[in-house]
Subunit: 311 residues, 2 copies
């Protein structure tokens, strides 16, 4: 298999959590990190005692300079990336902002992002209340505006990449396989997964990738975004906002997600399992180079074990 060389931006050695050079990933899940799961006792269907791993969720409070912005529930593995990505995706941090410091206090569960530019989002925080109370609603006002002005780059998605990516991601050890009840998002280039983030909230996994891209100034034009979650309007808006032209999911679509993807000319592929997928927007970027006779239908082995509803 041809493995593309590392683009300059990835050929860095200081990325925290960076995997070994032999490994395709720059960041991948660490299912053995004892802080991310808890062993709990219970019983099974026969009444027998069992012990099993469950995913943790922790409160993390994000400050931008002196202002408390939000308390997010997260597994807590990359608080700095989460804070940067959250603020970016809320349009409180601008792509050209100079971040002077990101301080994480594990004991207080607080992360503070400091910028050269003075910030005050009192009005914005107030506005959120008046229009919505759920994660999806809170971001819409601003993000919709962002969508209007965006023009996604030309790009190519070979179906051979898609199948290889899905195979690699599904066979990567993860918290999902260890404890379930978690979402995963992957930033990829061609058939190579670069950064695989998991979190209890799908929006957190996305935000952590956005934060990673911002911190390391990674370009979006040649990237592919893969998510285990549904292709909702929120997911589409965030992908477009990040400037990534291609979004792939194992899960299904919502009608508004499809409509927004078409408006933004985002390539939107869902229900990607085994041989099958459905593309409902931006289909011109797809190059059908894979001989389907060589792709297996999803085997029980590769099927996600907590195989149920998507988010």
């Amino acid at each position: 298999m041809f493995v593309p060389p590392l683009p300059q931006a990835y050929a860095v050695h200081y990325i925290s959590g960076m995997a070994s050079p032999k490994d395709d990933y720059l960041i991948r899940p660490d299912p053995l990190d004892p802080r991310l799961t808890e062993r709990v006792k219970g019983i099974d269907q026969t009444g027998a005692s069992i012990e099993t791993a469950v995913t943790v969720e922790r409160a993390l409070t994000i400050f931008l300079n002196a202002q408390e912005i939000v308390t997010a529930m997260t597994i807590g593995d990359h608080p700095e990336y989460l804070a940067l990505g959250y603020l970016l995706n809320q349009n409180m941090l601008k792509p050209d902002d100079v971040v002077t410091d990101v301080d994480y206090d594990e004991e207080l569960s607080v992360v503070v992002v400091r910028t050269k530019r003075k910030t005050n989002y009192e009005k914005k925080l107030k506005k959120k209340v008046q229009t919505s109370g759920c994660a999806q609603g809170t971001v819409f006002g601003d993000l919709m505006e962002a969508l209007e002005n965006v023009s996604l780059p030309e790009a190519e998605l070979r179906t051979s990449w898609l199948y290889m990516l899905a195979h690699k991601i599904n066979t990567t050890p993860s918290l999902y396989l260890e404890a379930g009840a978690i979402h995963g998002c992957v930033l990829a280039v061609k058939d190579r997964p670069l950064v695989y983030m998991e979190d209890v909230g799908r929006h957190n996994a996305v935000d952590k990738i956005a934060g990673w891209m911002f911190k390391h100034q990674v370009g979006a034009a040649d990237k592919i975004f893969y998510t285990t979650g549904r292709l909702t309007s929120e997911m589409v808006i965030k992908t477009v906002r990040m400037g990534i032209p291609i979004l792939i999911s194992r899960s299904g679509f919502t009608a508004w997600g499809v409509e927004l993807a078409r408006k933004a000319n985002l390539t939107l592929i869902g229900r990607a399992r085994g041989k099958r997928f459905v593309a409902l927007a931006g289909v011109d970027r797809i190059v059908f180079d894979q001989d389907l006779a060589y792709v297996e239908d999803e085997s029980a082995k590769h099927r996600r074990k907590a195989a149920v509803h998507d988010e």
Copy 2:
């Protein structure tokens, strides 16, 4: 199979969307309702044109008396129940409040709940902003307090009911089976599903059931709550708040969800698929009356088609 007689509270004829008497359900999904899905065109993995159904999501703005409370994204099938349940689960509507009117304006996508008691939640809306920005966070402050004072009733969950419920729910025609990308919640008594609600957001499906219970003054002590989604802290808190002693899911657990369920003595069962399940709290309510030799492992036929990550 023994079907328990209808308790008095259900023997009503005016419930909107009520199913036929032959049917076990009082309310079940209506996957053929043209307002709930949209047909969209796209291509499949071979490049061939296809048409498929996708779930809609609509903005619905909820008012309590003169005050705008929230804009929720919903499939829009039961706006009145959603509004009542949302306000109840946010502790803005009290269980003993007299609701004088629920007005739904389809054109404006607005639902107004009017109460005898005067309400003003300006402070509460303000407080939400300062502490959180995601759906989970917004409800915690108050709901945690509610958890402290609750005492769940004694109750019994026979494993034969659990398997029968799962079988019935998985074989009920639903938007999930039609279009995917949706959550389901079911209120049940013994082995009988009563109310099956679906929505793009899991919290909406729960809230619609809470609204239905409030409207029809249905008791919670003998009920079982089934969800397709994960057993997070939010899900546990809402179930406890509704007074339901048993919560079952096909999906997995989070550590905080387990901790809260133990604190509240909620019976918490997850990963319920085919023969298998895991109980991590309130296990004393479980009666193992089912001979497992007669339970099938989950067959491909019953496995949810968009079988992926849970929310």
